[in-house]
Symmetry: D2
Subunit: 345 residues, 4 copies
């Protein structure tokens, strides 16, 4: 059994990791940590876990590294996961960091978007970007994985093949993404207050959302050159799910069925990618699962590709993907403990 530690159990990513790992056949949760709720029973801050006789602890990094084979740091960006890295490295333990701290390989880009220097510039180089559909081999060998952002996974996987196969004009990508509110986290805010959030949709962080450089980093690999995209996130009145609608200009008139085949081929070894045929993705179809649904469409009149992708931001967009990475890092079946069917309706 793999001994796992979760740092940040009170956050939504942390509690979702707990849910998934508790049922994982090869994992034993050794430690759940929280700075804000040290010593409290899980049921105190999450009543739905009141039947677990487990308390959160103030995770000492050295202690944690000793106790665990893998540590999931579900912490805010900006150095909160930093203290756990070195001790784990020293003891040869693995880290899966769900924060943004190690996702950008170009630290200047990190600094530009996060308005501060990276807290672990040296170690950042050793981190592998944890998108299994693109970096499976590197993840298998990694000890430190930077788990992608929620918008990021939906955006990259939807557009990667188009660039990879040279089908579109590289700088034509626009991603219009709609997220459920859980993506904004557990911290209470006026605009996330039920009465002000329910029944309304709005855009935010136009031209400035921090997941943008992550998407660009990976799509630039596909394009073979540095590209820029326009990315607009929206808060949608639902709890879970991201639907990303991506637009790009095809280089020439396309045969859609051939492109669909290219997508299928590109993702033939990716068990969690479903190329939607006969239906259009809806966030409900992926809710509670580790799947990403991708539908490829062509607007012949304007020669634009319209790719719609859907995933559960808490699972494939965060904690499920983290466990998928763990499976790969430990040589387990990629889908182990993750083959959920959507909770529908």
């Amino acid at each position: 059994m793999i001994k796992a530690g979760i740092v940040g159990i009170t956050g939504y990513a942390g509690v979702e990791l707990f849910r998934i790992l508790t049922k994982h056949p090869e994992v034993e949760i050794a430690v759940v940590g929280s700075q804000s709720s040290t010593g409290e029973k899980l049921g105190t801050f999450y009543p739905h876990l009141s039947n677990f006789d487990i308390s959160s602890v103030n995770t000492d990094p050295n202690e944690l590294a000793k106790t665990c084979d893998v540590i999931f740091t579900a912490t805010p960006h900006g150095g909160a996961s930093a203290p756990y890295i070195e001790p784990a490295k020293k003891l040869g333990k693995k880290i899966i960091d769900l924060s943004a701290d190690f996702r950008l390989t170009n630290l200047a880009v990190y600094e530009e978007w996060y308005k501060e220097k990276n807290h672990c510039p040296d170690i950042a180089k050793e981190a592998v970007y944890g998108l299994p559909e693109l970096h499976k081999d590197n993840i298998k060998k990694a000890w430190l994985v930077a788990n992608p952002g929620c918008y990021t996974t939906a955006s990259i996987l939807a557009n990667y093949p188009l660039l990879h196969y040279g089908l579109i004009e590289e700088d034509s990508i626009i991603v219009d993404a709609k997220s459920g509110v859980s993506g904004a986290g557990r911290k209470i805010k006026q605009n996330l207050h039920y009465s002000e959030m329910e029944g309304g949709i709005s855009a935010y962080s136009i031209a400035s959302h921090r997941h943008t450089p992550e998407i660009e980093q990976e799509l630039s690999i596909a394009a073979g050159k540095e590209i820029k995209i326009t990315f607009t996130p929206h808060l949608t009145p639902m709890i879970r799910g991201i639907l990303a609608t991506s637009y790009s200009t095809a280089k020439k008139e396309v045969d859609l069925s051939k492109i669909v085949e290219m997508y299928k081929d590109f993702y033939k070894d990716s068990p969690f990618v479903r190329i939607a045929e006969g239906y259009l993705p809806c966030t409900k179809f992926t809710s509670g699962t580790n799947y990403i649904d991708i539908s490829v469409n062509f607007d012949r009149r304007t020669r634009r590709m319209v790719v719609v992708s859907s995933l559960d931001n808490m699972i494939k967009g965060a904690s499920g993907q983290a466990v998928q990475n763990m499976n790969l890092m430990f040589g387990l079946e990629e889908t182990l403990g993750l083959d959920f069917i959507a909770l529908y309706p």
Copy 2:
């Protein structure tokens, strides 16, 4: 492996059975049947299942009895499950009927509430009411189980101990129940149209809902005499969950902590009953699980007990309970394949 057949895969109870049984370690789904969608791939009517290469069949009762060890009939009340009963009985197979047809042991009561004669009056006598917290031993020996209604489970388990221990005036029970909309099924109706359902709560079937006699049947056992209750269901703007608020008059001033202990003791062998302490039940805490949360309260000023219970109407209120019954009928661990943690938030 137990070979299971599901009749009525297109309904919500059917598809939820599919979701649960697919992951059940001791079950193989042998047949999924549908009259309305015979021959169609699951993904045709449920896109979230498009990765399953399974088609629904027009289930021939004899064939089904031969193929399966257990048949789940997730069919409407009024005789739809009847054809499957005899063939199964003849071959010694087990039936778990999710319809209302075999729940009422007094067929005159059935006729009164359902306005028609029971379709299998002889076999009805052999059916066991499938509420494991009350009838575990009988369920273990049963070949035909009548799976309780969704409101029913929430109402009975909340009030049973009060009557069992003689704490309340027997005819004082009022159950005010709030259900998610999935309880109304998949058939489209004007009042279930999104724009007319969203954002509003309303009562329906006042003093006439068909789950009433089921609740009375079981609570009468607890009371040791025939009792009547007032039951009011409400449609609540949410998909899953039932919250039942039950009122009754205490025979005398009570010590609440003692009653809580009595509840704990009463349900000490019931792994899916959680006596809520330190929090009040919310349907979200049981959503996606087979749990029922029960909170016992006392209004000292009016000497009334106020018991709040919560469950997921699709799971503990339907398909999860059916699988719990199956586990018992086949001598498996009661919780096998059912130990879900709530999908929260």
Copy 3:
């Protein structure tokens, strides 16, 4: 034109008053006050009001009394409205207080439920309870009106005729009320965070909600003796609306149609009471209006009355009722500026 001042514009009751009064044909909003956002344009804290070039001011009580003919204090309970009372009285101006401070005529009861002494015990005696359907004549003559709570209006009007006509056992009333989340106010809280509130219903403040004594105060008048009720509020995943389901025991077998006629007669001079016939109340049918819908039902089997009432907690449950009171206090048509049709769907 009546010059009106609103104290507490940032709260939901305050902004709803603003919406209603802006369109009232006989009112000019003279002052909008806020302590938390003094000097800010309305659009700063409520973007939907960004086209109004109005700023909130730090309302000086004396200044306010001079400027205004009527002051609406949409303030928290516990003395926040107190400073405005005396200056208004001195200048012969009218006050409509939306807080709880003057609702309970028995100050000992106030102290018991609010755990503090009333801040204006002397003036409290002069306040008239602002439920126009019951106290119209007194309201017309009042200078200080205590505007009822949201649950209160729904509960009192639903049950008053039953007691008035002596139809039920006086101490048998149970009110199970379901409220939209706006009733909990604008202040952010963990349980009102969208992701934790959406999709779930729960009870709260069982046997201890502060609207209980208000309901009892008025229903005791109807009963001609002091009565107690059991009241349970629930938070429902919707923004607006209260649905109250009231239970009571009929003294004898009843002829429902006669009781319906009694209700119609009782409320024949109450333009905002609709006795629902041919449909059951849904909060959507009263949303955006000053109506209360009341449906009277009888459970013959248990001899219980089941009365369902619905209103918009922000309007008939707060600001609309306040304006209805203002109309009466100033000798205007009771419905002036309040004859809204529900925003449906």
Copy 4:
């Protein structure tokens, strides 16, 4: 008083017209018509209107033309409004058609998108496209107005100034629109069933939605040449509102503040257009109003304009706009009976 007739009262646009016109100071509703519910009281199909003693009639076109000064045909596209046109014309009465039948001036385009010939090709030429912000003078003189589609208004007004002032590449416009479910109408459908719609967002009619040619028709006027756009509608889990996020490529680096001024200037005579500054549009801010909120943004990195617009699809996107057109056609103040404040929260 203007005598108004509403054809199609059972639909959402019809009932919203009823709500608005009932309170319009210069209108008397003379007739409400319905083919599906002839002779029924309004409360029969819309319980929230049960206090109106009005029945729908089977509207005879000649009778209607005689009785009314203006007829609102809130009917499906495809000729349902056709019978009402000629009789009204003959008697010099006005028609405001909320269907799509007269929106496209190029009948070949109509035929291409609606797959049938226009039912009144001759009269179609006399229809004026009822977008007051662009065609006010023509609307004032019109007897037949084609009321725009809901997506259309949000899309055209957001992008028109950019083309008008020659700021963007003409063929670069992409509109990603998110609609509340009421836009799909009152007819029940499986995908609009509460349990299948709630909690999920999805795209539909990709590259094929019929509002596309309407948007192109008007934006081509702005561009001074025929242009094509990419338009993607989405069903969003909320009842009312459209949020349209529009993307286009600026011809050169822009000074955003200057563009904002250009928008303000362009719409200076349009009382229902609000240029959002200091906040981003949310459908809740325009819900229940006739406003359209427009926010202009620039993504400097990719030189793209990102314009976000929001409106209430039932009001500015349908019935409110129809009344705005009526006001203009009858020489009334444009805002008469339409100056609603958002029902917030």
